[in-house]
């Protein structure tokens, strides 16, 4: 008997057999167990494939998506405009459509920059990607006229070619650097001053006008039937937050008040009018995904709510003991969720951390990342934490060991857990190159050490090098302004490099940079999230670093955070 071909089975799976072919296939299947089994196998594979290829980033992601695309488009358009024509003076700024767009975009970028302070996660992405685009687009000519849109395959090929084109190095430096390759924040500083000096009201109108228009347009499209009806949020609510602002267990220490102050000053000094101009005029309007609105809405919530009492005494608190002003505690989602559940029952989780030989591991960090609770194991490897009842992801970090992750259930009775850590394989002979380069230097502009003078990132593909340069610039800016949030942004960039870089000295160097950025962020404004991220990054780097001054420094820093 002739069995069904794989093509036929596949089409049958998709319900795309028709007419006679369909009838014949059904008849055959009814009679042939083998083919039924083959079809079942195909069906099963398909069933597991779908979830593996699907991911829901959450409503908040889509609500802000169009705005981020808009920012990106503007930035790209402006890069082109800047190269083509440079009339001088403010006449250009306010006299031409491009100039106005530039002024408006600057304001938008400022707000985006300020919003890095208060909005984390997906929103940090926007300025990064934009920045990458700024340098990448610096040398792309605007698209020449091509055959009509019917030839979309040409589009694909051309886009391909554009992506892969490597302009000569000199060209790149010349066009990329002066105009647009500077970090969004630094560039906009200058623009902001010029703008403010001139006619701030005009740009405010532009921004708020634009914002109002797109808000209105969103409303219309929603009613006209967007793909999925978007539930409008309650007033004052921000997509990122679920309820109240972070608990007082995460205030900035007194020592970081200057950093906090400068950040506040930066935000209020440089974007006062644009920030407020873009606000909804009445509090009853639903909050939109615009970063400006989010910034202000979150600020209001941050400073309107009373602070909760300090964290329980059992766990080693991450926040400094001297609870000072709220400062700029970033209302990251985990903290907000934590508050969400703070009213719910809490339970105790105690346990032991041992290595693969059963020996206790002291000084390991036990973390419940979703509620930002941490504890350090004592000399016998024991720890206890309190956390809301329910299931949580548990991670254990210790230098010399691979990070361990598992899920734990916390009930109202005390639960216990035993964690076994796998030691990190000894990185003997991690290249000599890595060893000479690992002197702990912060900031860019490193001189060459003995031997290899090359930039560790020189061999990376362009897209990654963009991230590296952007990260370096962000780090420099963050250092200059003592801004924890900008260090966060730099760290997010470094994270991408770590993930994409080939294993070896390049990834190690990126990890070092990441650890540095995370440390600086925590130093500039300690929050549980920053502490967790810093501990993770420092541990990951220390695990691969050769013994020496740099590694010792990393261990010292880890101690400080855990204290």
């Amino acid at each position: 008997m002739k069995h069904l071909t794989h093509d036929q089975l596949s089409a049958r799976l998709d319900g795309e057999l028709h007419g006679r072919a369909a009838e014949e296939a059904e008849r055959h299947l009814a009679a042939c167990a083998e083919c039924r089994e083959a079809l079942a196998e195909l069906t099963a594979q398909e069933a597991v494939l779908r979830p593996a290829l699907t991911h829901d980033p959450g409503e908040a992601y889509f609500e802000s998506f169009a705005a981020r695309v808009e920012d990106r488009v503007r930035a790209v358009g402006l890069a082109g405009a800047q190269r083509r024509e440079r009339p001088s003076g403010l006449g250009w700024l306010f006299g031409t459509p491009r100039g106005l767009a530039w002024a408006g975009a600057t304001a938008a970028v400022l707000i985006a920059g300020a919003a890095i302070v208060l909005v984390t996660g997906e929103h940090v992405q926007a300025p990064h990607l934009r920045d990458r685009e700024l340098t990448a687009r610096g040398q792309q000519e605007s698209a020449p006229a091509t055959p009509p849109a019917g030839a979309t395959r040409d589009d694909g090929a051309r886009l391909d070619a554009m992506q892969q084109t490597e302009p000569p190095a000199s060209d790149r430096r010349a066009t990329a650097d002066p105009g647009f390759a500077r970090p969004p924040l630094a560039a906009t500083d200058e623009m902001a001053r010029r703008k403010e000096a001139a006619a701030a009201p005009q740009s405010n109108q532009l921004l708020s006008g634009g914002a109002a228009t797109s808000r209105a347009r969103e409303a219309r499209i929603n009613e006209a039937g967007e793909e999925v009806p978007v539930a409008r949020r309650e007033r004052g609510d921000v997509p990122v937050s679920r309820s109240a602002p972070p608990p007082a267990s995460a205030p900035a220490p007194a020592a970081t008040a200057p950093a906090a102050g400068s950040l506040e000053a930066q935000r209020s000094g440089e974007a006062p009018k644009t920030g407020t101009a873009a606000l909804p005029s009445t509090p009853s309007q639903p909050a939109r995904e615009g970063l400006a609105e989010q910034v202000d809405a979150v600020r209001k919530k941050l400073f309107a709510q009373p602070m909760k009492p300090a964290a329980p005494s059992e766990e080693k608190s991450l926040a400094p003991r001297d609870a000072a002003a709220p400062g700029v505690a970033a209302p990251e989602r985990a903290e907000l969720n934590a508050l969400d559940r703070a009213d719910a029952a809490e339970g105790r989780l105690c346990g032991e951390v041992r290595d693969d030989r059963g020996r206790p591991v002291a000084g390991a960090q036990v973390v419940l990342a979703d509620v930002a609770r941490m504890a350090t194991t004592d000399a016998s490897g024991a720890f206890c934490l309190r956390a809301p009842v329910g299931e949580h992801p548990l991670a254990v970090l210790a230098v010399g060991f691979n990070e361990s992750r598992q899920s734990v259930e916390i009930g109202t009775q005390e639960s216990s857990v035993r964690v076994t850590l796998d030691p990190v394989p000894v990185m003997a002979g991690r290249t000599a190159w890595g060893a000479t380069k690992s002197l702990y230097r912060s900031g860019p502009g490193r001189e060459s050490g003995i031997g290899a003078a090359a930039d560790p990132f020189a061999a990376l593909p362009d897209s990654l090098r963009e991230h590296v340069s952007a990260a370096r610039r962000l780090s420099a800016t963050a250092g200059a302004r003592r801004s924890a949030a900008i260090h966060d942004a730099a760290a997010a960039r470094w994270e991408r490099v770590v993930r994409a870089a080939p294993a070896g000295p390049t990834a190690d160097e990126a990890r070092r940079e990441l650890a540095e950025a995370r440390w600086q962020a925590w130093s500039g404004g300690a929050t549980p999230q920053r502490a967790i991220a810093a501990i993770e990054a420092l541990t990951a780097w220390a695990n691969r670093a050769p013994a020496g001054a740099a590694r010792d420094e990393a261990l010292r820093r880890l101690d400080r955070i855990k204290r």
């Binding site: 196998e41 398909e46 169009a66 019917g150 395959r153 228009t213 999925v228 990251e332 299931e391």
Partner: protein, 199 residues
């Protein structure tokens, strides 16, 4: 409901035409309307082909930026979705090409990862499901780009053969055979990894 909406979107050319014309004429809000209309589809395709958040975000945003730049040359009346899907898939594959061989994938950073864990899952279930997904993801990544693309369109977007044919610009017969080969290749790659079949 969602599927119906998606299909509707493929054939909603009339609605799109107005928006496209307006956007071509410089109406920023109209372009934003196009973005909002297709953002989820584009994101779905981007994620299916990149399988991580930051790349998917990058590809999805970049798709619309490129679309914006090329919109002037788009012929009103043609369906928008295939065009956008093509841009997205090209971008995803350019991204791979410009990268070196990937190292051992580091764990997702803790603080981000904390957000995504569900509360209802049974822990044991979760671990084995993760394993399975990882194998699948790796096996999928090993497929030829054209197989990845066509599977993404069929599995994630649930496009009919006819719609896929339109998106890829190939005859329906090709869609059928290519899908079949894609699935066979996936099975082979999975078997390589796990030493067993999916059932």
């Amino acid at each position: 409901m969602e599927v119906a909406l998606r299909r509707n979107q493929m054939g909603g050319a009339e609605n799109d035409d107005e928006l496209i014309r307006a956007a071509q004429a410089g109406d920023q809000a109209a372009f934003t309307g196009i973005v909002r209309r297709y953002q989820r589809s584009v994101y779905r395709v981007a994620w299916a082909l990149t399988r991580n958040d930051s790349d998917a975000d990058d590809v999805a945003q970049e798709t619309f930026v490129r679309a914006y730049q090329a919109l002037g040359r788009f012929r009103v009346g043609e369906p928008l979705y295939p065009w956008l899907a093509r841009i997205a898939t090209n971008l995803a594959f350019s991204l791979f090409r410009s990268r070196r061989r990937r190292p051992e994938t580091p764990l997702e950073p803790l603080v981000e990862a904390g957000q995504q864990w569900g509360v209802e899952d049974d822990p044991a279930e979760r671990v084995s499901a993760d394993e399975r997904e990882r194998h699948l993801s790796q096996a999928f990544a090993a497929l030829k780009p054209e197989h990845q693309t066509i599977l993404a369109l069929r599995v994630v977007e649930e496009q009919s053969y006819e719609a896929i044919a339109g998106t890829l610009g190939v005859p329906i017969g090709t869609v059928m055979s290519r899908l079949s080969r894609a699935r066979a290749e996936l099975r082979a790659r999975l078997a390589e990894r796990t030493g067993e079949t999916t059932t």
